[in-house]
């Protein structure tokens, strides 16, 4: 796929606040119709990147094009084709649910006649039809989040920017949101999602980059990243309090890679069964052993030496 077909192209894209580089010379391409993720811990530079793509934060260095346009000069035109779900909700709390959508649509120059049917549709989509006349202040966190997403769709955007769309939601609300995002993807909307939940990234993203301290440390599909950086399986070994320190030496070479965390030891292995037997074979007596599939969390740990959510 050639670059001109990409919706977003960043080359050595940099954002500095004073001397501090929040985003440090990153490269990425986002193609039409894909769900692209930025995965990274707090302060990695995800929001800063999103704001530059959203043409609300000027870039410091490098180049960035969105829809083939330059955010610096074509900001209004870019923003007219975007939907933005910010990390923190910024709805107008004083006015009712449906008027939040109406007012927002007016900023895009849509007429009332086209807005009202669209609002009915979006309220249905966000499962908020029953609350349409309520003030936003009276909604739960999950409802506000869904309304924010509905609001981002009012102008039928070609590209939807979602900054941690499900942070703070309970599992049920998260799954409802994921379902809504799948549907949008099927309709051909390109999604850019930031998250620090690896399951979310695995579920939603076709491709993602792992960010840490302003840099991109890996890129690929969730599967490919796992295959490239970690083994298929992981054994999580826990010892009684105080014991782990005394036995870590005996685990050397027991698996392809041994990762010692404060509360457990991770053994990366292509064959979990035999590794677990080997643990017992060496006379170790862990409190528990869990054999699980590797996840992006493991990729992140491998790449940065840190866990994603600490």
């Amino acid at each position: 796929m050639s670059l001109s077909e990409s919706l977003v192209v960043a080359r050595r894209l940099t954002k500095k606040f004073g001397d501090f580089a929040a985003v440090d010379a990153v490269d990425f391409d986002i193609r039409p119709g894909e769900a692209f993720g930025f995965l990274g811990p707090n302060g990695a530079g995800k929001t800063s990147t999103m704001k530059m793509i959203g043409a609300v934060s000027p870039i410091t260095a490098g180049t960035l094009s969105v829809f083939g346009l330059n955010p610096e000069v074509d900001g209004p035109e870019i923003r007219s084709r975007l939907g933005v779900v910010p990390q923190q909700d910024n709805l107008d709390e004083e006015i009712p649910v449906d008027e939040n959508l109406l007012i927002y649509g007016r900023y895009f120059g849509m007429s009332r006649a086209e807005l009202w049917p669209r609002i009915d549709e979006l309220l249905e989509f966000a499962e908020l039809t029953g609350r349409r006349k309520d003030k936003v202040a009276a909604l739960s966190g999950g409802m506000k989040r869904r309304l924010t997403i509905a609001r981002a769709l009012i102008n039928e955007p070609d590209l939807l920017l979602l900054d941690e769309p499900t942070t703070g939601l309970d599992p049920q609300a998260r799954h409802l949101l994921w379902d809504r995002l799948y549907r949008l993807k099927r309709q051909g909307v390109t999604l850019i999602i930031t998250t620090h939940f690896m399951d979310e990234a695995e579920q939603l993203c076709d491709r993602l980059v792992v960010m840490d301290k302003g840099k991109i440390v890996a890129e690929g599909s969730p599967r490919a990243l796992i295959e490239q950086y970690v083994t298929r399986e992981v054994i999580e070994v826990r010892f009684p309090v105080g014991v782990q320190e005394t036995v870590v030496d005996q685990m050397e070479g027991i698996a392809k890679r041994v990762e010692v965390l404060p509360d457990r030891v991770l053994l990366y292995s292509d064959n979990g069964e035999s590794t677990m037997q080997e643990v017992h074979g060496r006379g170790l007596e862990p409190e528990s052993m869990l054999d699980r599939r590797s996840t992006l969390e493991d990729v992140f740990l491998r790449l940065t030496g840190r866990t994603l959510i600490d």
């Binding site: 609300v56 209004p76 933005v84 910024n90 006015i95 109406l102 007016r106 900023y107 609001r151």
Partner: protein, 259 residues
Amino acid sequence: MAGVETLRVMETQGRAYRRIWRGSVITTFLNPVMYLAAMGVGLGVLVDDGTGAEALEGFEYLTYLAPGLLAASTMMTGAGDGAWPVMAGIKWQRHYEAILATPVNVRDLVSGHLLWVSVRLLMVSVIFGFVMILFGATGVVQAIAAVIPAMLTGMAFAGPVTAFTSWTEDHTGLTNLFRFGLVPMFLFSGTFFPITQLPGWMQPLAYLTPLWHGVEMTRSWSLGLEPTFSPVVHFGYLALLIVGGWLASQHFLGKRMIT
């Protein structure tokens, strides 16, 4: 200035206001009623019986007070609308961030906001004028004449206060602005008595206050008094503040929101 985005911002502000217009109109109506009743009628009787008449250039106190109070009301409305809703948009609810993610830019947002405030000031001035007529403080023509300088007074505060709000961190800055800036101005800028009654050293200070210029012109146009300086000076000063406030608001709001 008034691009289509600007008009959309003005329209949406107005739409949000529709939710509270009843309460707002009642306050806008009751405030002048209470002030004119207490100060104009109650206190006015004492003033008119005392040595007041000559300082007031022959007017009854109620008549003298009413246009001053009108200008002071638009000041308070203009300043209030430049303060609380703007801080809410920037920080408390952060819906300015949402607006700036649409094709609307900072200039449209500031211009639309200020245009909407001017509509509010028109409403406030008209209601106030109506109350003045009810109290017999002025005739219909004078009340209508007072609307324009009163609106300009309000705008001369709305612009700079919007800029100040965009610059200041939080409500403490705003509270201090009202406590140390607007309330003293309200009391000492010729609203309730001519500034010639102030100690000599305070009079030049009063000349610097935008409210005094607004009061001079509102009083001049409604009572037919000769203003202290040429209307060009008084209106010029207000116009400077309006344009300066509009530009400064764009500057500071841009700095605050576009990081």
